[in-house]
């Protein structure tokens, strides 16, 4: 008998193979027009081409670099960098803001505004950001920051409010000052929720950045996907979509294991 993990792996591998086979059959017998859907082989070729130097056209000896002068992984990295800066800013602002809002009357005062901001789809205000900061990277990073900090702030607030009174009472009874109570109890007790907030923010920022790169988004994986679509390079679009989806999953898994490493007590105490 196989153990449960191995059985699951076999199941996933089988379903993936089945999916690839179906995809290959549909495109091989042209059940869908090639303009709309390309086969797995062509998508793989487009993926490889986008990551290497290749002739500008068949037979020419002028070489170009990847797609739009960047390798695919550089497009991906550019998008990830925007997210890192946007979410990084969201953490730097959101966590202290959440701590203050969770412990003082500022929470009651500012929460409606935060809720309003959070309920807006970020693309609703990209126009305004472009007017303020131009079409370049600055407006995109602001967009990601504005998308990322509300969920992080909200998570921090709910974390702070969820800290058991007696945990604070316990440390104060051990002789802690207010500041020591903050650093030795409030912060670590809030950490699990903060990490969840960051995970939500990263997911949100990822969907936002891909969409925001429609405007002037090269280098950028979303920008490349959009441009490839405009040029009817269906195989490249599909390659980008796969990279976007797999990156999102990898990001989430990475953050999940970070959570596991940093808060091993989650759900146990």
């Amino acid at each position: 008998m196989l153990n449960q993990g191995a059985r699951r792996a076999v199941l996933h591998a089988t379903s993936l193979l089945g999916f690839l086979l179906l995809w290959w059959l549909v495109t091989h017998f042209e059940l869908v027009r090639p303009l709309f859907l390309r086969g797995p082989g062509e998508v793989w070729d487009a993926f490889v081409r986008a990551n290497t130097d290749h002739p500008i056209s068949a037979g020419s000896d002028r070489m170009v670099r990847g797609e739009q002068n960047y390798y695919l992984w550089e497009h991906l990295l550019a998008s990830l960098q925007r997210i890192a800066i946007g979410v990084g800013g969201g953490i730097v602002v959101g966590v202290p803001l959440g701590l203050v809002m969770g412990t003082t009357w500022l929470g009651t005062l500012l929460e409606p505004y935060l809720n309003f901001l959070r309920s807006l789809p970020p693309l609703a205000y990209i126009g305004l950001l472009i007017v303020w900061f131009g079409i370049g990277d600055t407006s995109k990073i602001w967009l990601l920051f504005l998308a990322a900090f509300p969920p992080i702030t909200m998570a921090t607030i709910s974390g702070v409010r969820g800290v058991r009174d007696d945990q604070v009472n316990a440390v104060l009874s051990l002789g802690a000052s207010r500041r020591q109570a903050l650093t030795t109890v409030m912060l670590p007790a809030t950490l699990p929720e903060v990490l969840t907030g960051i995970r939500v923010a990263v997911g949100f920022a990822w969907t936002t950045v891909v969409a925001a790169e429609i405007a002037n988004g090269i280098p950028g994986i979303g920008g490349l996907a959009y441009l490839a679509g405009q040029q009817l390079q269906t195989a490249l679009v599909l390659a980008c979509i796969l990279v976007i989806g797999l990156s999102a999953i990898a990001l989430d898994l990475g953050l999940k294991s970070l959570e596991k490493a940093l808060v091993p007590w989650r759900g146990k105490a």
């Binding site: 007696d166 945990q167 009472n169 104060l172 009874s173 051990l174 670590p188 007790a189 146990k268």
Partner: protein, 269 residues
Amino acid sequence: MSSTHEHEVEVAGVRHSFRVQGRQVPALDRIDLTIQPGELVTLAGPSGCGKTTLLRLVAGFMQPSEGAVRVGTRPVRGPGIERGVVFQQPTLFPWLSVQRNVELGPRLRGRSKQERAETAHRYLELVGLSDVAGHRPYELSGGMQQRAQIARVLANDPEIVLMDEPFGALDALTRERLQNELLEIWRATGKTILFITHSVDEAVFLGSRVLVMSPRPGRIVLDEPAVFGTPGHLVPPEEIRALPDYVDLRERVRVAIQQREPAAGGAPA
């Protein structure tokens, strides 16, 4: 002890009520109580009579609606390092190992790493937890967590120890062991202890003075010295429990606890 000792606990004319759905619900009626340094005062009473409320007032977690709590001559305005609190629910910090929990008090006061480790080892050994010092609290059983919590309080060396039904959730064997350990610690250190319990036997067995509280709103209806746990009384526990004096006091405490004020609405008994 004619003049007010520095660590005498004085509860003077304390009433306390909670606001529940807009109504004031009295929890403590009128408590006047002085605890001399070195006393082991046990407080028994039916559940919901206000024992925890009284302890939290002494701990400084809240202010009484009426009256005052003093330690020595200083009014209690908040938690303080001289009043250690053992909570009914073990309130250990899951982000710290058992040892780091126990050395938290000394750490907050900036004691050296070596000194802290020595203190922690001494108290972990006292409560029989040396072999799990490196574990996280959630990896311990409820009884072990409670012992770790007691070690943390003792390692901070407070003059006054407030304990809220610390052995309430333990099995009979562990409970009996910890009762004996507590008596030994008390004999060795001469600390002032306020020990809350809903067990008549525990109150009589441990106390150098036994208090009984009436059902809500709580008042002290019995206040008697007990000698069974005091130094010099080194008779084995089984024999103590068979002493006529012991049986006699236990009966008086039992009757006092079951005594009910005539209900205001005149409900039949």
